[in-house]
């Protein structure tokens, strides 16, 4: 695709199509969007991050990511739609313009490219990375149990054949380590939103402990507003709360680590399935899902901008 106007945001795309689209986005918005490579996956695929910036040096930033679990195709799809929306809204939507005039946005659309390629070629329902586990015939690690936050605790598996296998040690997966290194070296990320599917939830830390996050009250209030904004569009019902109280104990998860790094506004989404499709959400639902999620994302991003710490 050499033109964004011919790219179908209402369809699922392969990784090659998405990477090509990223280049087009950068070409079309050279003063706003650039593409960074923050590392390589286990199978040597590039880990690309789109950077939205209007200038400045090491500005306060917002991190967004999609596609941690490869089979959750709706997430990569709304990643593409959302990245395009951010680029198009700059200069049009006053709130997005104001955000980008003072902050940068980093967006990793395909966190787990090996898994994504595998879902397109061999097993549509693959969740994990594709790293080899010495001594086991089972492949891959759950990249949402591989972070250094309560790593190894219950709510993750030590069995390499499990879909929630935590890996041999924290950050063993290059897909995770690359983000860890990026976040640490940047040092000025103020909000971190990781997007998954599907249970219709907006969650904040913690997942590995029942101890409430020190900022729980504020995070809860933001979640309430974000969910209300999301629901206002199509009536999609979301629950919200801390990971451990809303779903289950999950050790080594992404936003627990980011929160412990001092990124106060750490959230994770579980996107919709208002029908009964799970990871096979029909393509007709991509754009409505993206539109409603965007409403909630804006609430979080704007709150972060207005409450810098």
């Amino acid at each position: 695709e050499r033109s964004i106007s011919t790219f179908d945001f209402g369809s699922y795309h392969t990784m090659e199509e998405i990477f090509s689209w990223m280049d087009t986005l950068v070409e079309n918005h050279p003063n706003l969007v650039s593409k960074l490579q923050i590392g390589q996956s286990f199978e040597d695929r590039p880990l690309y991050v789109l950077k939205f910036s209007t200038g400045g040096s090491n500005r306060s930033a917002i991190w967004l990511d999609t596609g941690t679990h490869s089979r959750e195709w709706i997430t990569q799809a709304i990643g593409v739609w959302t990245a395009n929306k951010i680029a198009e809204e700059y200069g049009q939507d006053p709130s997005i313009t104001a955000i980008l005039d003072s902050m940068d946005i980093f967006f990793e659309v395909i966190v787990n490219p090996d898994g994504f390629a595998f879902t397109h070629s061999s097993n549509r329902l693959w969740r994990k990375t594709r790293s080899l586990n010495p001594g086991s015939h089972c492949i891959g690690v759950d990249p949402n149990r591989n972070w250094d936050a309560g790593f190894g605790g219950s709510g993750s598996s030590g069995n390499s054949c499990s879909d929630t296998y935590r890996g041999p040690y924290a950050n063993s997966e290059p897909e995770v380590k690359s983000i860890v290194d990026f976040v640490k070296s940047h040092g000025n990320i103020k909000a971190f939103v990781s997007i998954h599917s599907y249970s219709q939830l907006l969650l904040y830390p913690y997942g590995y402990t029942t101890t409430p996050a020190p900022d729980q009250k504020e995070l809860h209030e933001i979640s309430q507003k974000a969910v209300a904004a999301l629901e206002s569009l199509y009536g999609t019902k979301y629950k919200y709360g801390s990971i451990i109280t809303t779903i289950y104990k999950a050790s080594g998860s992404t936003i627990d680590w980011t929160y412990n790094q001092g990124i106060k506004y750490s959230f994770t989404f579980e996107l919709r399935d208002t029908g009964r499709y799970g990871f096979l959400l029909p393509a007709t639902q991509i754009v409505p899902t993206a539109e409603e999620t965007w409403q909630a994302l804006k609430v979080i991003i704007l709150h972060a901008r207005d409450n810098l710490y």
């Binding site: 179908d8 369809s11 699922y12 795309h13 199509e17 070629s121 061999s122 097993n123 549509r124 329902l125 054949c161 879909d163 599907y198 249970s199 629950k239 809303t246 779903i247 289950y248 009964r276 499709y277 799970g278 990871f279 096979l280 029909p282 393509a283």
Partner: protein, 93 residues
């Protein structure tokens, strides 16, 4: 290429904590290869389970013997995957 012919997705809304525990037991039986798409977490939160064709009879017996009601939300996962593939090919053209 892994196929999912005859595999089904079951939806279960647990009625009490005991049913949640039983579903967890089901998930721990590795030979059944049940894949929880949506985990059993709370009474108001439905759980979705992908059950391979080879385990269907055993899983359904397990549920029925313990009075755990379920509904089949995907009759044949492979049919949906084929449809998805067809739509992607069509869209690309």
């Amino acid at each position: 290429k892994q196929l999912f012919v005859g595999d089904q997705v079951l939806r279960i809304t647990p009625r009490d904590e005991e049913q949640i525990s039983l579903l967890k037991v089901l998930g721990e039986q590795e030979d059944l290869q049940v894949d929880f798409w949506r985990h059993p977490t709370s009474l108001s939160h439905p759980a979705d389970l992908l059950v391979p064709f080879s385990s269907l009879q055993e899983v359904k017996s397990f549920l029925e013997a313990r009075n755990i009601p379920y509904s089949i939300i995907m009759e044949d996962v492979q049919k949906l995957l084929d449809e998805e593939q067809k739509n992607m090919t069509k869209s690309r053209r």
